[in-house]
């Protein structure tokens, strides 16, 4: 069966968009082919900075004929009805219709229509322009003469050519499928490497296309380009006694910047190695898209070496000496800036006199660089959020809250306060100004350099954690305290100005902040009633996030609902989790299952009677018991209620469950032998009151009616 080769060649496509675009092209084209009635054996997409390519194998040459029957009127119908039928079926004469018979209707007309299949060429010629026009680029543009008219073609960058051939695998010549989009006419011509092979290349099918591109210095397959870069980078590092610091995101990006990867090594002066490794790596990576290396066998968290690895797009006529020289110059200039930033941040600010007031407000030691930066942050009045005041005001709140929370978490309040006061001090530093993603990391380094307590220094970095479901949760009590204070302040603040997350919109990452609080409390086993920090609405937001968190960890959502429905300590996230766990294990046991069934039965009877308006006694009256099982159930309920309440009080939820489990037998015995709906209304009311006690007792732990199964 024939193969289809499609290449859309354009000016340089942003690296970050290439992979998805090629995938979109495959999906849109193959979906369109299938919808048009064609089948294919396989489809594979490829991309380089200058082309998206699709290789479809084993495509049918034609779609099948489609037969359709249209039922018409009875053969004895009036002429007007017959004419209407002919128009509908597209027939010119009734003689073209068939006569069918049916025992009920008698004889009637049927049009037998055949929609002939279409050639694959025709389908492709129609499909490709539609796909190009509707292509989902994240950002697209118009260009050239055509852009004078409204509705002109949009593409990520100017589209230059369309290559589209279709033909048998072997033997016969594939032919060009003729397509035109906004003046771009398809053909069988493409171009290789921009500088190494500027001449046109004529291709037949995928196999010679790949080979000819390769000869024209284009590696079509991005995975191969990645492998070449990774392997060559490792080898060149190894040969120099170094190890590549691997960086998958950078590798992906770099592979999207070259068609013919050539890996080279450059270097910079060792004096720059006094800059933190993170800063060197970011400088070289963000600005130059180069990899860094470390000494062979070096600690992965340790320093980098003064050699970096770059990927050129040409085999330079001088072996790459000029390219290495040029890149080295730029890297050096950037590192020289970074070193300047690093040193400036550790020096005194010129305007220390103006910082005294801020120094007193925060209890800062203005002889220290980071303290000066905090004072400056305050004095500059940098806005945190228009309605939530300045960063300085926010730090004041966080420091106060951290001091309050410290005893609950088990942290030294003075250290917690100090850490909170310095938590945002690195924001106005030069290094963080250059690399905002290093906030916290840099604060920690400067804090250690000015002799802060290690826990305080660590908290400057860790109070931003956890940044999501898989990020590490801080454990040092000082970090935990400041992290909680920071997140509470954010959540409470945005709640107060009614900027809550809605649907997919969560611009201030409040869901992440709430999840952070949950993970810190639960994973560190910290009990902390939230009611004194958050209002009811925010608490229910925490409950929602907790449900998501627990569901992700495999807990049943009905158990979470059942626990949250009780009023007992439902503002303490850790206790909620423990209760859900205890309830889950209890329901795994026979006692648990039966008690659940018994409680549900009691609740159902009560609900039915309550609906009918049957009288339920205010309290159970032992004198009105008629059966022994009533008496023993009542005794068991009293006992279980007392024990469960005490256990809950001690936050020993297993013990609470154990207390409830002793209800199982008397409840079963009661339902087996006693008829609740006694004819005597007084006895009935008393028994219903007893059922109410079962419901009330179990609900000290969870609302059993919300539990499924």
């Amino acid at each position: 069966m024939p193969d289809l080769l499609l290449e859309l060649r354009s000016e340089e496509i942003p690296a970050r968009m290439q992979r998805k675009a090629a995938g979109d092209l495959r999906k849109m084209i193959t979906d369109g082919l299938v919808e048009a009635g064609l089948t294919y054996e396989g489809a594979q997409e490829y991309w380089t900075p200058r082309r998206l390519t699709l290789d479809i194998r084993g495509l049918n040459a034609r779609s099948k004929d489609v037969r359709e029957e249209i039922k018409g009127p009875s053969v004895s119908a009036p002429e007007a009805a017959i004419q209407g039928f002919l128009r509908k079926a597209g027939l010119s004469d009734i003689a073209q219709a068939h006569r069918h018979a049916d025992p009920k209707k008698g004889e009637f007309y049927v049009a037998h229509l055949v929609k002939p299949g279409r050639s694959a060429e025709e389908i492709v010629a129609e499909l490709v322009p539609a796909v190009i026009r509707a292509f989902p680029w994240p950002k697209s543009m118009r260009w050239g003469r055509a852009s004078a008219q409204p509705g002109s073609l949009r593409w990520v960058r100017p589209l230059q050519s369309i290559l589209c051939t279709f033909g048998p695998e072997t033997g016969g010549e594939p032919e060009v499928i003729d397509i035109e989009v906004d003046g771009i006419r398809s053909g069988n011509v493409t171009y290789g490497h921009r500088f190494h092979a500027p001449d046109a290349i004529t291709v037949k099918r995928f196999d010679d296309y790949v080979a000819k591109l390769e000869a024209a210095r284009v590696v079509l397959d991005a995975e191969r380009r990645k492998a070449i870069i990774r392997d060559d980078a490792k080898n060149i590092a190894f040969a120099n006694g170094l190890e590549l610091v691997e960086d998958d995101a950078l590798l992906e990006e770099v592979s999207g910047l070259v068609e013919w990867p050539v890996v080279l090594m450059g270097s910079f002066e060792e004096e720059y190695l006094q800059i933190p490794a993170e800063v060197i790596q970011l400088t070289i990576r963000a600005n130059q898209k180069c990899f860094v290396t470390r000494p062979a066998g070096g600690n992965p968290d340790g320093g980098v070496s003064n050699r970096f690895i770059l990927t050129a797009n040409i085999e330079a006529s001088d072996g790459g000496a000029e390219i290495v020289h040029g890149n080295g110059k730029v890297v050096r200039a950037r590192l020289s800036d970074a070193l300047y930033f690093w040193n400036t941040d550790q020096a005194d600010l010129p305007d220390r006199a103006g910082l005294t007031e801020a120094g007193e407000t925060f209890g800062l030691d203005l002889s220290k660089p980071l303290d000066q930066r905090m004072a400056r942050l305050h004095r500059l009045g940098v806005t945190f959020h228009a309605k939530l005041g300045t960063q300085g005001e926010r730090v004041q709140r966080i420091a106060k809250l951290a001091e309050d929370l410290a005893p609950v978490v088990g942290a030294d309040p003075q250290l917690a306060r100090r850490a909170a006061v310095l938590a945002k001090a690195d924001l106005p530093t030069e290094v963080v100004g250059e690399f905002p993603e290093l906030q916290g990391v840099i604060g920690r380094k400067y804090a250690l350099l000015q002799g802060e307590h290690p826990s305080v220094a660590a908290a400057l970095e860790e109070h931003y954690k956890p940044q999501g479901p898989s990020d590490r949760v801080p454990t040092d009590p000082v970090s935990v305290t400041v992290a909680l204070a920071d997140k509470f302040d954010t959540l409470v603040g945005f709640w107060a100005i009614d900027e809550k997350p809605t649907g997919s919109k969560d611009p201030y990452a409040l869901r992440r902040a709430a999840l952070g609080v949950i993970r810190i409390l639960v994973e560190n086993g910290i009990q902390m009633p939230l009611a004194s920090h958050v209002n009811a609405d925010l608490l229910s937001f925490f409950h929602d996030r907790l449900k998501v968190y627990l569901r992700d960890r495999g807990a049943r959502h009905d158990l979470i609902d059942a626990v949250l429905a009780t009023d007992t300590a439902n503002d303490d996230l850790l206790l909620i989790v423990r209760r859900v766990e205890a309830l889950g294990s209890f329901l795994e046991t026979d006692d648990g299952k039966n008690l659940l069934a018994g409680t549900k039965r009691a609740a159902n009877i009560l609900a039915a009677e309550e609906k009918k308006g049957t009288t339920v006694a205010e309290a159970v009256e032992p004198a009105r018991f008629a059966a022994e099982q009533e008496r023993s159930l009542f005794a068991a309920v009293n006992q279980a209620e007392k024990e469960a309440a005490q256990a809950v009080e001690r936050q020993d939820f297993s013990a609470a469950m154990a207390a409830l489990s002793r209800l199982r037998e008397p409840v079963d015995a009661f339902f087996d032998t006693v008829l609740v709906n006694d004819e005597d209304a007084v006895i009935r009311a008393n028994r219903l009151a007893l059922l109410q006690r079962i419901r009330a007792t179990t609900s000290t732990v969870a609302d059993f009616s919300r539990i499924g199964g």
Partner: protein, 316 residues
């Protein structure tokens, strides 16, 4: 040209030779070679030959050098790479020709950058000028890892869709010259391509000015006066647009002078920003005010002959 003058004007030897080579290259293509605009601007894009001429249907090909002033980038002449006054070489081609990338690469070859020796790359860069209400898609052009030009297909200018789209090339001349001359400090650039006593460096020409303007930008500029200048320029711009407003289907009669005031407001804002008297919240507001002026100018330009407006005859 004799062999000697050619030698002195070799773009690898002389800063002015680099400019002359680019002029010759783009003049040869058919651009009108303009002189710098005689007002303070932050970038070559502000020249009305780009901002205004990018609008409307009329073809327009121009090239010029534009001194660009970025008060905040002043470093008292102490930084080898950063200047508060530098040169941009600006090319605008409307509509963009389909081989604009090849034309650009041709210009690099003309100044001595061989693409089989140097690694030339087009790296994604979405350009946006909030003050001009303009954006476009294109690239930073890299030579051996250094950004030497910006390449943009204008999509919108002054808040107006470009139809047709213009291609804009902006070369950072000092950077490019440092690269081709192999110099690490901008002040060491050979300006006139001569040697010995005859040699004039970039520092000879500009170092003192950089020091003085840094003092002015950061220390001495009278902020109260500048704040008043901003308000005055804003008012004048609006008043001129009203004064020149089309009557009876005619054309807008005053646009270039109004646009000058928008440029002035923009530069005054940059000076105020460098003096640190504009708070974070106010900053956005000032940018918006300049953008509103630019938008009004762009819309007015479309009602002029250069903007492609065909006036209705008085009789009709």
């Amino acid at each position: 040209m004799t062999a000697t003058t050619h030698f002195h004007n070799d773009p690898k030897r002389s800063f002015q030779g680099l400019i002359l080579t680019l002029h010759a290259y783009w003049a040869d293509y058919g651009c009108v070679v303009l002189q710098p605009y005689d007002m303070e601007v932050g970038a070559g894009t502000f020249h009305p030959a780009t901002t205004l001429r990018a609008l409307g249907p009329k073809p327009w090909n121009a090239a010029y050098v534009q001194p660009s002033r970025r008060p905040k980038d002043g470093r008292y002449g102490e930084n080898p790479n950063r200047l508060q006054h530098y040169y941009q070489y600006q090319v605008i081609l409307k509509p963009n020709p389909s081989n604009l990338q090849e034309l650009y690469l041709g210009s690099l070859k003309a100044i001595g950058i061989d693409p089989l020796l140097h690694d030339i790359r087009f790296v994604e860069d979405d350009w946006e000028s909030p003050t001009l209400g303009a954006w476009g898609l294109g690239w930073e052009c890299w030579c051996d890892g250094m950004e030497v030009s910006q390449f943009t297909y204008f999509q919108q200018v002054c808040g107006i869709e470009c139809a047709p789209v213009a291609g804009e090339l902006t070369y950072g001349l000092e950077r490019l010259a440092m690269y081709v001359q192999g110099v690490d400090n901008v002040y060491d650039l050979n300006f006139n391509g001569r040697d010995g006593d005859e040699k004039v460096t970039y520092g000879d020409v500009f170092l003192q000015a950089e020091q003085e303007y840094s003092r002015y930008n950061f220390e001495h500029a009278d902020t109260a006066m500048l704040l008043q200048h901003f308000v005055d320029a804003e008012k004048e711009c609006q008043a001129l647009l009203v004064a020149g407003a089309p009557q009876n289907g005619g054309v807008q009669r005053v646009i270039f002078p109004a646009y000058d005031q928008a440029i002035k407001a923009s530069h005054v804002f940059n000076l105020l920003d460098a003096r640190g008297v504009i708070s974070v919240t106010e900053r956005q507001n000032y940018i918006l005010r300049v953008r509103n002026l630019a938008k009004a100018c762009g819309e007015a330009f479309l009602l002029t002959d250069a903007g492609g407006y065909v006036a209705r005859s008085a009789a009709a």
